[in-house]
């Protein structure tokens, strides 16, 4: 990938829409001119902390930075403390938000292609850092596009330019790949906003033309399914950040007649594998990529990546490219001398008919696993009996507590403190 300058809008004609904003289309020519302006107008700093919520602004700032040799910093959290730490760690920076751009967004005449070198470092993304400081991961332009090309084969209908609505932020790897790399690679377009509530999702989809793709998380998808949302024709639904329960995927497919595809990815690599959730729990690695299964965590190899990526996840390989996730290194528990994976127990619990959502976790070291379960209409005995048929009795969760919803955070994960609180343990 050395020295190959690539036009940022190589897949778009100048008049093609790249962002849908308030029902109107922003064209490649307009965005290219705006990014060209910004490349000159941005403060003279090495790093650009790109906090724009508007996809249009995010894209313009991202391309302006990449074109002018700056690097976008994409923090996982907006918490004031996290941002302060980021500013300290990268003193040569400027911060760009929708507000700070407000007076500056001008639209000049198209001045010709905006080029970005494939080998250029364009962004640093950060792992959420549930333990310790956030870890930075380098993103090079060519690799972002190569990853998106592999995701495109799986997620999008072939030969169509799709219009995407995403409920995830552009600053997270999943959002960056689906709302920026994938759009630029395929010549598609993205909706400017980030809808949250089901009615917002419906409105955002209604405001863009077909073929429509909804990029979301299990938490948002569940809310839309429970609201029995009436949506305009949907081509695809994409979900990531946490495992999607199969009944939820089935309900979504039945409700909107669109395929639901899941991405298995990580901040370090972006998307790595996909599955259509209703077809089974096996994942298929991206083209040219494979997983090496190890007891300490799998290793991801991809011909499009500069180096193999060690993962925290444990997997069970059918072939080097087809696998099931069985847990996370460190999520193996030992009870009475027997070993099991919490993720595996969660998966089995989720598979019990009538269970909508569930998580198995360890309230304290050496204790029995406990569970929070969303399963209106079935009894604790039914669930325990179903599990007892599959796992050793010591791994049948106790207490098994029924809740209306799991305590998920913004990225769909279940923080330990919230699990303990929901269980009633202090």
């Amino acid at each position: 990938m050395n020295g190959a300058a690539m036009p940022a809008f190589g897949a778009h004609a100048p008049q093609d829409v790249v962002v849908w904003q308030g029902g109107a289309g922003v064209t490649a020519a307009t965005l290219e001119a705006q990014a060209g302006d910004l490349a000159v107008a941005l403060p003279d700093a090495r790093h650009v902390i790109n906090l724009c919520d508007s996809r249009r602004n995010f894209l313009a700032v991202f391309l302006a930075a990449a074109h002018s040799g700056r690097v976008c910093l994409l923090p996982a959290s907006r918490a004031p403390q996290a941002l302060a730490e980021l500013r300290d760690e990268y003193p040569d920076h400027c911060v760009v938000t929708d507000e700070s751009l407000a007076g500056r967004v001008r639209t000049h005449a198209w001045r010709g292609p905006l080029q970005i070198d494939a080998a250029r470092l364009v962004a640093l993304t950060f792992t959420s850092g549930s333990t310790g400081r956030p870890q930075a991961h380098e993103k090079h332009w060519g690799c972002l596009l190569a990853t998106a090309a592999r995701a495109q084969e799986r997620l999008l209908p072939p030969g169509q330019r799709c219009n995407i609505v995403a409920t995830v932020p552009s600053q997270h790897m999943y959002g960056l790949e689906t709302t920026l790399s994938l759009v630029l690679l395929t010549g598609g377009a993205v909706s400017d906003g980030r809808p949250l509530l089901p009615a917002d999702v419906r409105q955002a989809l209604a405001d863009i033309p077909a073929p429509r793709v909804l990029v979301t998380t299990p938490a948002h998808l569940r809310a839309c399914v429970e609201a029995k949302l009436k949506l305009p024709a949907l081509e695809r639904i994409v979900s990531a950040t946490a495992p999607l329960a199969r009944p939820l995927a089935e309900a979504a497919e039945a409700l909107w007649h669109a395929r639901v595809h899941e991405i298995y990815g990580c901040t370090e690599a972006g998307s790595m594998a996909t599955r259509r959730t209703v077809e089974g729990d096996a994942w298929l690695a991206h083209a040219g990529a494979w997983f090496e299964s190890r007891e300490s965590g799998a290793i991801y190899h991809g011909s499009h990546l500069p180096a193999p990526i060690p993962l925290q996840d444990l997997l069970e390989s059918e072939t080097p490219r087809i696998f099931r996730l069985i847990g996370r290194a460190g999520d193996m528990i030992k009870v009475a001398g027997k070993r099991a994976s919490l993720a595996e127990l969660s998966r089995r619990l989720l598979a019990v008919p009538g269970v909508h959502d569930a998580v198995v976790f360890l309230p304290e070291e050496g204790a029995r696993p406990a569970a929070l379960v969303v399963a209106p209409g079935i009894s604790r005995e039914t669930i325990a009996a179903a599990l007892a048929a599959q796992v050793d009795p010591v791994f049948v969760p106790r207490p098994l507590r029924f809740v209306d919803t799991l305590p998920r955070n913004e990225s769909g994960k279940t923080p330990r403190a919230a699990l303990l609180a929901a269980l009633g343990v202090r």
């Binding site: 509530l197 089901p198 917002d200 919803t405």
Partner: protein, 99 residues
């Protein structure tokens, strides 16, 4: 007593909504009656309930189920409606009254 009591006391509508929030969000450490009607629901300021956007999803669903009112965060008045228990109750009942 001065005005502060009136500010802090929940009205009947607010109390019902507070119970709904505690139930929908599984706020086990929070008693519905203890939610200050004017305190921020979201964010990390002092006195805030500290809710996040996924909580907003749950709240919207619970409100739709119980009151049949569909919330949209894209509407400016809904944004301000999520500011506090008092604002949310006023918004929901305002929508109910308008039919």
């Amino acid at each position: 007593m001065p005005d502060s009591t009136a500010t802090l006391a929940q009205t009947g509508n607010e109390a019902a909504l507070a119970a709904l929030l505690v139930d929908a969000l599984n706020l086990q450490d929070v008693k519905a009656a203890d939610i200050t009607p004017t305190a921020p629901l979201f964010g990390h300021e002092n006195g805030s309930l500290g809710l996040d956007s996924i909580d907003a999803l749950e709240i919207a669903l619970a409100i739709q189920r119980k009151y049949g009112v569909e919330l949209r965060s894209a509407e400016p008045d809904t944004r301000s409606a999520f500011a506090s228990l008092r604002d949310l109750a006023a918004h929901v009942h305002g929508r109910l009254d308008r039919g």
